[in-house]
C-alpha cells in the first residue's frame, strides 16, 4: 500500500480568442478497490460551470464550458490517493478482446507476434510470455517525441519503430489482443515529475495486471490511474471543442510524490 500526493496542471494557450468552448477533463483518479481517492480539489479557469461526469468505461471527470471570449484554459488538480494492488480487480469486459480503431493489427504486428513466439517457442499468453514480448518491443522501439502524432495507430508506429508512451501502449495492446490476451489502454500519472503517462493493463489469471511497455516494467503502486478504454480514443485525459480560428499549444505538468 502506498499513499501518493499528486498535482496535475494543464495549460491550453490560444493565439487568438475563442468562444463557446466545451471541455471534458478527466484528471480525477478512478475510485476502485485498488485505488482510493482520499483528497481531490480542482480549479478550472475560466469556466461558466463545471459538473462531475462519468462515462460508459467507468471513467470520471469534469465537463464544463466557457461561453465568452477567452484565450486560455488553465486546469489545476491536486489530491491524495491510496494505491493498493492487493485489492480485488474490476471485471473483464469482452470489448477488450477485440481490435479497436488504434490497435487494428496488420501484417507487421502479426509478424512481430510470430517472431516472438518462435524465439520463445511458446504462445506468450502468460505473465512471463507477455513480459518477454514487452522486453522485445522495448528493445526494438525507440522513445522519440515528435515522431508520431495523437492519430498514429499501432501498426503505423511499429513500422516507424519509434514513438511515445501512447504508441508503446497501442502496439503492445494490439500484440496482446492478437495473442488472445484481453488488454486495455490506461492513462494516468507516475511517480516523479513530467508529463502524463500511458500504459497497458492485461487480463491474466482473472484480474487486470498493469504493464508499462515504455519503461519495460510492471505497473506498481507508484502509478495513478486516471482513465481506461480500448485505446487512446476512449482514454484521452482531456477533450474539448471551441468556436473560433486559433492556433493552440498545450502544456501538461504532472508531479507525483510518495507520502511516507
Amino acid at each position: 500500500m502506498k499513499r501518493l500526493r499528486f498535482r496535475y496542471e494543464m495549460r491550453l494557450k490560444l493565439d487568438r480568442s475563442v468562444w463557446d468552448h466545451h471541455f471534458l477533463i478527466r484528471c480525477r483518479p478512478m475510485e476502485n478497490a485498488r485505488q482510493h481517492r482520499e483528497e481531490m480539489a480542482i480549479t478550472i479557469e475560466p469556466a461558466d460551470f463545471i459538473s462531475e461526469v462519468r462515462d460508459g468505461f467507468g471513467n470520471e471527470g469534469y465537463a464544463g464550458s466557457v461561453r465568452e471570449l477567452h484565450d486560455s484554459l488553465l486546469v489545476e488538480a491536486r489530491g491524495v490517493v491510496r494505491e493498493d494492488l492487493s485489492g480485488i480487480s474490476d471485471s473483464l469486459h469482452p470489448m477488450y478482446r477485440f481490435p479497436s480503431a488504434y490497435t487494428m493489427p496488420d501484417e507487421g504486428i502479426g509478424r512481430f507476434l510470430e517472431e516472438t513466439r518462435a524465439e520463445r517457442k511458446q504462445p506468450c499468453m502468460d505473465k512471463e510470455g507477455l513480459s518477454y514480448m514487452m522486453n522485445r518491443l522495448y528493445g526494438r522501439f525507440v522513445y522519440s517525441p515528435g515522431a508520431t502524432t495523437v492519430a498514429t495507430t499501432a501498426a503505423e508506429a511499429l513500422i516507424l519503430g519509434q514513438g511515445v508512451c501512447q504508441d508503446y501502449a497501442h502496439v503492445f495492446i494490439s500484440l496482446c489482443r492478437l495473442a488472445g490476451v484481453p488488454a486495455r489502454y490506461v492513462a494516468g500519472m507516475m511517480l516523479g515529475e513530467g508529463a502524463s503517462h500511458a500504459w497497458v493493463e492485461v487480463w491474466l489469471d482473472g484480474g487486470w495486471q498493469g504493464m508499462d511497455p515504455t519503461n519495460n516494467r510492471l505497473a506498481d503502486e507508484t502509478y495513478i490511474k486516471l482513465t481506461h478504454g480500448r485505446d487512446f480514443g476512449d482514454g484521452s485525459i482531456d477533450r474539448g471543442r471551441f468556436l473560433g480560428f486559433a492556433g493552440q499549444s498545450q502544456e501538461i505538468c504532472v508531479k507525483v510524490e510518495e507520502i511516507i
Binding site: 461526469v53 462519468r54 460508459g56 468505461f57 469486459h93 478482446r97 477533450r239
Partner: protein, 437 residues
C-alpha cells in the same frame, strides 16, 4: 387509377419543388437525387397487415430487449446464444453507452424494417434499421399529393389514412419526454434529408433545431431562444448519427454535435430518439440471430422469417457457403445501404474463387443468403406498366405500445435485372396502401 397515372408528372414536379430528395455518397462524390414517385401503389390487405403488425412488433420488442441486455447485463452472451464477437467487435457497438438506461427503457423508438414478399406470398425480413431509418415522409407527402390529384380514388377504395404518422411520432416523443419541449435535431439544410426533418418537425409540432440552437448547462439541455428565455428540451429526435452527436463523447472533431448532450442523456435528463448505440442490433451479422433473440427474450417463435442466412463464422455454414457460392448472395457485414452485396451468380469463375479466399480469410465479416425470388410490382413506364422488383420498409413505432404505421415505403429498382432496391442505388418509390376492409 388512371387519374393518378395522368397526374404522375405533376406530382413528381411538385415533389421536386418541395425538395423531396435524398443524397448519395459514393466514390467520394456526393450526389443529390430526386426520388421518383410511381403512382401505382402497393396494396396490402387488412388481414395481411394484421399479420405483419404482429410479426414486426414482436421483432422490434425482441430487438429492444437485446439492446437493453447488451448495454446492461449481457445475459444473452453469458448464456451462449450469441457469440460475443458479433456484439463487441461490431462497429455499431458503442461502449460509451454502457450502463445507460434510456427513458422508459426504449432504445429503438422508430424502427425501419425492410421486408420482401416472395412469389409464394411469404414475407421475409431483409434488414432492420434501428439507428435513423428515414423515408417515412415520402409516402406521407405522396399520399397528400395524390389525394389532391385524385380524390375519387380514395373515395372508391378503402385505404387506411397514413397521415397519422406525425401523430404517432408525437406520441412516442411525448411518452419518453423527461420534461421540456420536443425538438427534431437536423444537421442543417444542406443535409439531403432536410426536407424530411423539417416536414416531420412541422407535422409533429416539434421545434426544428440546428446543432447551434441547443446547449447544455448544469446537466440539462436547452433550446436557445433569442428572446433570452431558456427552454428546456425533454426529447430530441435527432437526425444526426451517433458518432457526430457529441464531440466530448464520440468523434472529437464534429461540429454538428451538441457538446455534453451525452452526459445529460446519461443522467436521464433528456430522451434521445433513437438511443445511441443501436447499431449493434441492426448490422448484417447480428441479423442472423434476431429469431434467436425472439425466442430468448420473449419465449416465442419468430412470426416473420429471416431470409435463409448462413454465417461464415460457423464452420458448417462456411463450408456450405463455399460450396454453393454461385447461388447465394454474399454480404459484407461492415457495409450498409446496398454496398458490399455480391450475387455469386454474377461473378466470373476467377472472381468467385477470389471471393472464396476472402471469405475463408475473414469469415466474421461475411454472411450469405439464399436469393429470394421476390415479387414484381408494376411501375409506369411510357404508356404501359413494367414489372420491377420492390421491397417494403415498414415503420414500427415504440412508445407506450409498439405499433406499425399502416403504410410504409415501397421502393423499387429501376433496373429490370436488379434485386437491389436500396434508394442509394438509384430507384424510386411507391405509396403503400393498407386496406381497411
Amino acid at each position: 387509377m388512371r387519374d393518378m397515372v395522368e397526374h404522375m408528372e405533376g406530382i413528381n414536379r411538385l415533389m421536386a419543388r418541395y425538395g423531396v430528395k435524398f443524397g448519395i455518397y459514393k466514390n467520394r462524390e456526393f450526389h443529390e437525387q430526386l426520388f421518383p414517385f410511381d403512382p401505382l401503389p402497393r396494396v396490402i390487405t387488412k388481414e395481411e397487415f394484421a399479420y405483419l403488425q404482429k410479426g414486426l412488433s414482436q421483432r422490434v420488442e425482441a430487438l429492444n430487449c437485446f439492446l437493453a441486455d447488451v448495454y446492461g447485463e449481457k445475459k444473452i452472451v453469458r448464456d451462449g446464444v450469441i457469440p460475443e464477437d458479433f456484439i463487441f467487435s461490431s462497429k455499431g457497438y458503442l461502449p460509451q453507452c454502457e450502463g445507460m438506461m434510456p427513458p422508459k427503457k426504449i432504445y429503438s423508438h422508430i424502427s425501419g424494417i425492410d421486408l420482401v414478399q416472395a412469389k409464394d406470398g411469404t414475407w421475409y425480413i431483409l434488414e432492420d434499421n434501428l439507428r435513423i431509418p428515414s423515408g417515412a415522409s415520402y409516402p406521407m407527402i405522396a399520399r397528400e399529393l395524390t389525394r389532391q390529384a385524385s380524390p375519387r380514388t380514395f373515395m372508391k377504395n378503402h385505404v387506411v389514412d397514413n397521415r397519422n404518422y406525425a401523430g404517432m411520432l408525437k406520441e412516442v416523443m411525448d411518452h419518453v419526454n423527461t420534461g421540456g419541449i420536443n425538438v427534431v435535431l437536423t444537421p442543417g439544410r444542406y443535409n439531403a434529408a432536410f426536407f424530411e426533418h423539417s416536414y416531420l418537425a412541422e407535422r409533429s409540432g416539434a421545434i426544428l433545431a440546428m446543432p447551434q440552437d441547443l446547449y447544455v448547462e448544469n446537466n440539462r439541455l436547452y433550446y436557445r431562444q433569442y428572446q433570452g428565455k431558456q427552454l428546456q428540451v425533454g426529447t430530441v429526435y435527432r437526425r444526426i448519427s451517433d458518432e457526430y452527436l457529441d464531440p466530448l463523447c464520440f468523434e472529437p472533431g464534429t461540429l454538428i454535435g451538441v457538446p455534453g448532450i451525452m452526459d445529460v442523456y446519461r443522467s436521464g435528463n433528456v430522451a434521445l430518439v433513437n438511443a445511441p448505440g443501436n447499431g449493434v442490433a441492426d448490422d448484417k451479422g447480428i441479423y442472423y440471430f434476431v429469431p434467436h433473440m425472439v425466442k430468448y427474450y420473449l419465449g416465442e417463435e419468430a412470426i416473420l422469417k429471416n431470409a435463409p442466412t448462413y454465417l461464415a463464422f460457423y464452420e458448417q455454414d462456411r463450408t456450405f457457403i463455399l460450396e454453393h457460392l454461385e447461388r447465394l448472395v454474399v454480404k459484407d457485414v461492415s457495409e450498409a445501404g446496398g454496398y458490399g452485396v455480391v450475387f455469386g451468380s454474377d461473378l466470373t469463375k476467377e472472381k468467385r474463387e477470389e471471393l472464396k479466399r476472402t471469405i475463408a480469410g475473414d469469415p466474421r465479416r461475411f454472411i450469405a443468403q439464399e436469393v429470394i425470388d421476390f415479387i414484381d410490382l408494376d411501375i409506369v413506364e411510357g404508356d404501359g406498366g413494367v414489372p420491377r422488383k420492390a421491397d417494403l420498409r415498414a415503420f414500427v413505432l415504440s412508445g407506450e405500445t409498439t405499433r406499425v404505421w399502416p403504410s410504409g415505403l415501397t421502393r423499387f429498382s429501376r433496373n429490370p435485372d436488379s434485386f437491389v432496391v436500396n434508394s442509394s442505388q438509384g430507384g424510386g418509390f411507391k405509396d403503400t396502401w393498407v386496406l381497411s376492409q
